[in-house]
């Protein structure tokens, strides 16, 4: 059992599934895809529960030489951050496949077989991204995830999706090519030190001089900022979520975009810590702008799917803020936020997708409301998901948001103050969205007569997500137990310690009686 290449098998299952389902007839392809995705989830969960120990750093490692001449290795491994991202991906893909059961065969879309094959390919590539411990391998799959994403966006959804897909691809490729400069720079630095290699462990041991580090950081950061996305390179996000199907949007926003912030933690903080600290003032300002601007723009949207896409801009601002304030609350809050955002936004997109499919339009003005009387389950799901986005206590995003805001206050009071305003703005967009789509007089007035509520399949996709939101809202410790050891490692690698509390624990110093 020790020598079993657990991670390679985890990646091979959806990859094989992608190739197999590409040749099956449509009806069988959907079932086969679900089976492959389910097996991936089970394998990942079993591996996590049996082979992963909380305190052991990078585990389940495999290292094989791949391209000797360039110092490249096929190297995989998971730590706390990677494990959560892997499990999030493995859990979301079956849900997406189930949610898109009928959608891929609609008029104008490319068919279920193509959809399932590309989704499984995207899953395989994403799993490699989150487990790669070799920078070359990371880069290869970082770019490779774009191809299935491009064909998913361009092949399924509303008219104008070809253009949205092209915009997405050009943006991401530009970022990726800028990152290529930094990847090559890392190789050259390691060669100048006598040991040309792309392995993370080799590169982390290097002592890179400050100026070079800053240039490398800029290259990596631009690519990850485009991926996340952050202001001002976020403009691809709204068009993409507007035109693509909601299943694709879930995968894009909840899995693919996490690669950006994952990369910031792994590469910017892990390999280039001094440059990350140097860049903190600028990054914090950009993150705060993303938070507020994203929320404001989301409020102004009429298209439901665009709105949800833009809320992610705000959420990712929080995540980046948490990463770059360099405190353990901040980093653990960000990682927790990444998981919670994945769950919450997935629920929001799927519920909105069911609504859009029933109403035939995504424009909230055209919808006119009144759904909650005829489809209470759908309305309830949308409400819970929306409140989660707003950070209601009792739902899991609240915990992570709290941690990030505390860390932001610790860094600078004005950073915390600006971040807090986002809570109000988030409540605004979430509740107003609910009001416009769900409340109001029903019946003939809004054209909702005869609208079906969620059926078993659709409810089955939302139930685990909503359950997770509530469960982790009250009991986030399982996630935090995985995250905290990783955060301790990161903090010690970066060489930063948390600032001590200003009020000490001793009661007598406050003048009280012991």
């Amino acid at each position: 059992m020790n020598d079993l290449p657990v991670l390679s098998i985890l990646i091979a299952i959806p990859l094989v599934g992608a190739i197999v389902t590409a040749f099956l007839p449509h009806a069988m392809a959907r079932v086969a895809g679900l089976v492959f995705a389910g097996v991936t989830l089970v394998w990942g969960a079993v591996a996590a529960l049996t082979s992963y120990s909380l305190d052991a750093g990078m585990q389940l490692t495999e290292t094989h030489a791949w391209i000797e001449a360039l110092g490249v290795h096929y190297a995989l491994g998971v730590d706390g951050l990677g494990l959560l991202m892997v499990l999030l991906t493995a859990a979301l893909v079956p849900i997406v496949l189930l949610a898109s059961w009928h959608e891929a065969d609609d008029e104008g879309n490319s068919g279920s077989r193509t959809f399932v094959a590309w989704v499984l390919a995207l899953e395989a590539m994403s799993l490699v991204v989150f487990t790669a411990t070799d920078v070359f391998l990371f880069y290869v799959v970082f770019e490779a995830t774009l191809i299935p994403a491009y064909f998913l966006i361009g092949g399924f959804g509303r008219s104008g999706r070809g253009r949205a897909a092209t915009k997405f691809l050009i943006y991401q490729l530009a970022g990726g090519l800028i990152m290529l400069g930094s990847v090559i720079g890392l190789y050259v630095v390691s060669a100048n030190n006598g040991n040309p290699s792309f392995l993370l462990s080799d590169l982390a041991a290097l002592d890179i001089d400050p100026i070079t580090q800053r240039w490398l950081f800029v290259g990596f950061f631009i690519a990850f900022a485009i991926k996340a996305p952050m202001f001002p390179v976020h403009t691809w996000l709204a068009d993409t979520t507007e035109k693509a199907t909601t299943g694709t949007s879930v995968l894009l926003v909840c899995v693919l975009d996490k690669i950006g912030t994952f990369g910031m933690l792994r590469f910017c903080l892990g390999l280039l810590p001094d440059a990350s600290q140097w860049a903190t003032p600028v990054v914090v300002v950009l993150a705060l702008i993303s938070i507020v601007y994203g929320a404001l723009v989301a409020i102004g949207q009429d298209d439901l799917l665009r709105l949800i896409g833009l809320t992610s801009l705000s959420h990712f601002g929080f995540i980046v803020l948490g990463i770059f304030v360099f405190s353990s609350q901040g980093i653990s809050g960000s990682i927790l936020y990444m998981v919670n955002h994945g769950i919450g936004t997935a629920a929001l997109f799927l519920a909105a997708g069911y609504l859009v499919r029933r109403r035939g339009t995504a424009s909230m003005k055209a919808m006119g409301g009144g759904v909650e009387k005829v489809a209470p389950v759908l309305a309830g799901s949308l409400l819970i998901a929306g409140l989660a986005a707003a950070g209601l206590p009792g739902l899991s995003p609240f915990v992570s948001e709290m941690l990030v805001i505390i860390a932001a206050f610790d860094h600078a009071w004005w950073a915390g103050a600006i971040a807090v305003t986002a809570i109000v703005l988030a409540a605004f967009y979430a509740l107003w969205m609910y009001q416009r789509t769900m409340t109001g007089p029903g019946g003939d007035f809004a054209g909702v007569e005869g609208m079906r509520d969620l059926d078993a399949r659709e409810a089955g996709t939302l139930a685990p997500l909503l359950l997770a939101l509530v469960l982790f809202g009250f009991f986030p410790m399982p996630l935090l137990d995985v995250i905290n050891p990783h955060v301790t490692d990161v903090m010690s690698d970066v060489g930063v310690t948390d600032s001590p509390p200003t009020v000490t624990g001793s009661v007598s110093s406050q003048g009280g009686q012991p």
């Binding site: 880069y139 361009g154 530009a174 090519l177």
Partner: protein, 530 residues
């Protein structure tokens, strides 16, 4: 008067060269004496046999040849030191011969034209006359193209192996003259083809003149044509350095014209568009491989000691070429011209690798060398380009090939396989990971950055972004745009072209996933023999 020393001809090591030349001559004889109906088969079989024999010869020579300094270099200098059969030469010979075999297969394709090849029935018949109509209806076919191809291959083999300026010039001319002819032999759109041939000939002759003038000046500086002697002279730096610099510049003009580097790239789009597509496919791949081999040998061996003179020039040329190729490609509406400009951009990328040369002492153990990176990139570029042009020949209507980009809209639905393979070749040219183009670009950019040429690498990244945009646009046109009229029609080729395309795609994929063996082979080739 010094005694004349008869140069030793190492027949074993020169076997590939001699076989190809011999087959070319036999091909001429076949053309003269074999009855017309049997000529096609005879020529194709002869050409393929010759190329395969030469390839086998290359493999044997590579295994038997002498190894020096623990593998740092291998090979011999033959015919009085004028031809160097060393590691890089053998690598390039193998590559050129494989590309030539693919070229012969494409030339021999008659299924696409409805029973006749892509070459004119009777080239001497003026376009639009009765003679031309007679020639095309009677099913005439020029089978001289095969010996012409073999002569061009001979030149391509000689060019990178030349260790002597005059031999290099001979190689340059022998490779170019048959290509000038082949460019004019298209069956359809003959005026465009003849214009392309004339343009190529005039500009090529002009640049060969520059090259020859450079040869004379460098001879004046060094007192010898031989690269080793020139290297000595450069090291000792006793002659008039103005002669050297101007000579170097003139030689560069001739060589940069051949590879299509800016500012000498103007012929590329017109010639690539006008020539018959199989010729374009072969020319785009083979000429560049041979010419870059020559550039590498000239600059690394002959002028290697004077790097500070030519490296800045190469920085500027590389930057210009990449930007010109990428930017002008965006405005193109014809697929062949678009691929031509993209190949100009690739020339810029390869030049980025050429200028990444460092002294051996500056390299860490196990670091990839500039020579290795360039040889690898040439292999990846050759197969991707050959495959892409081969596919261009498949999209046709009753009037011949359809190369206008907007008429390719809807190809994704019409023929998913053809569109998919073409998209794959485009992604390889864009340098998307998991394709060979990515590893090539990584290697080339690494050596340039390691040599300190970070401005060139920054421009290369910008050019890659621009180029990525234009390739994605073509993919989007094929898959997501509405077709004009009934959409494009794809004529499925015979096994000849299909094999070539499949082979190109397979190599591109394999080198993207497992580039190790080829990179190691390029490393095993070692350095140039001096």
């Amino acid at each position: 008067m010094t005694e004349f020393v008869k140069p030793v001809v190492d027949y074993f090591e020169l076997w590939p060269l001699l076989v190809v030349f011999g087959v070319a001559c036999v091909g001429v004889v076949v053309e003269a004496f074999v009855p017309r109906p049997m000529r096609y088969l005879a020529q194709v079989v002869l050409a393929l046999a010759g190329l395969v024999a030469a390839l086998v010869g290359v493999v044997f020579v590579a295994r038997e040849t002498e190894v020096y300094a623990g593998g740092a270099a291998r090979g011999i200098l033959s015919i009085g030191g004028t031809i160097a059969v060393d590691g890089p030469t053998l690598f390039l010979w193998g590559l050129i011969l494989v590309l030539a075999i693919a070229g012969v297969l494409l030339f021999a394709e008659r299924h696409l034209g409805g029973g006749v090849s892509a070459f004119a029935g009777q080239a001497a018949a003026l376009p639009g006359t009765e003679a031309e109509r007679e020639a095309s209806t009677s099913g005439l076919d020029h089978t001289e193209v095969y010996p012409l191809l073999m002569f061009a291959v001979f030149g391509m083999l000689l060019f990178p192996a030349a260790n002597d300026l005059l031999t290099m010039f001979v190689g340059l001319e022998v490779l170019s003259l048959p290509l000038y002819l082949l460019c004019g032999l298209a069956r359809r759109r003959r005026l465009l083809s003849q214009e392309a041939a004339l343009k190529y000939f005039l500009l090529g002759a002009f640049s060969s003149g520059f090259f020859l003038y450079g040869v004379a000046l460098v001879y004046g500086y060094a007192g010898s044509m031989n690269f080793a002697a020139i290297n000595e002279a450069v090291r000792n730096d006793t002659g008039n350095s103005a002669l050297l610099l101007v000579g170097m510049g003139m030689l560069s003009v001739g060589l940069f014209f051949k590879v299509g580097a800016a500012p000498f790239q103007a012929w590329t789009p017109d010639v690539y568009q006008g020539a018959p597509t199989p010729v374009t496919a072969f020319m785009a791949a083979g000429t560049k491989v041979a010419a870059f081999g020559a550039i590498l040998r000239l600059f690394y061996v002959a002028f290697g000691a004077d790097r500070w003179s030519w490296q800045p020039m190469m920085w500027v040329i590389a930057i210009l070429t990449m930007l010109v190729g990428a930017i002008l490609a965006i405005t193109q509406t014809d697929v062949k011209r678009l691929l031509a400009y993209s190949s100009v951009a690739h020339t810029g990328f390869i030049l980025t690798g050429v200028l990444g040369v460092q002294a051996t002492s500056d390299l860490a153990a196990g670091e990839v060398t500039a020579l290795q990176a360039v040889l690898f990139y040439l292999a990846t570029y050759g197969f991707a380009t050959l495959g892409a042009f081969a596919i261009v020949g498949l999209v046709r209507d009753s009037g011949g090939e359809v190369t206008s980009l907007d008429r390719w809209a809807g190809l994704g639905k019409e023929s998913p396989v053809v569109a998919g393979v073409f998209a794959f070749f485009l992604l390889a040219m864009a340098g998307i990971p998991l394709t060979s183009g990515f590893v090539g670009k990584l290697a080339v950019f690494s050596v340039a950055l390691a040599a300190g040429a970070w401005p060139v690498v920054v421009v290369a990244i910008i050019a890659s972004i621009i180029a990525a945009f234009l390739y994605i646009r073509v993919i989007k046109t094929m898959y997501f745009d509405e077709p004009i009229g009934e959409g494009p029609t794809v004529v499925y080729p015979s096994v000849l072209t299909a094999t070539t395309i499949a082979f190109g795609a397979a190599i591109t994929l394999m080198l993207g996933i497992l580039p190790g063996p080829l990179l190691d082979l390029a490393g095993l080739a070692g350095q140039f023999l001096r």
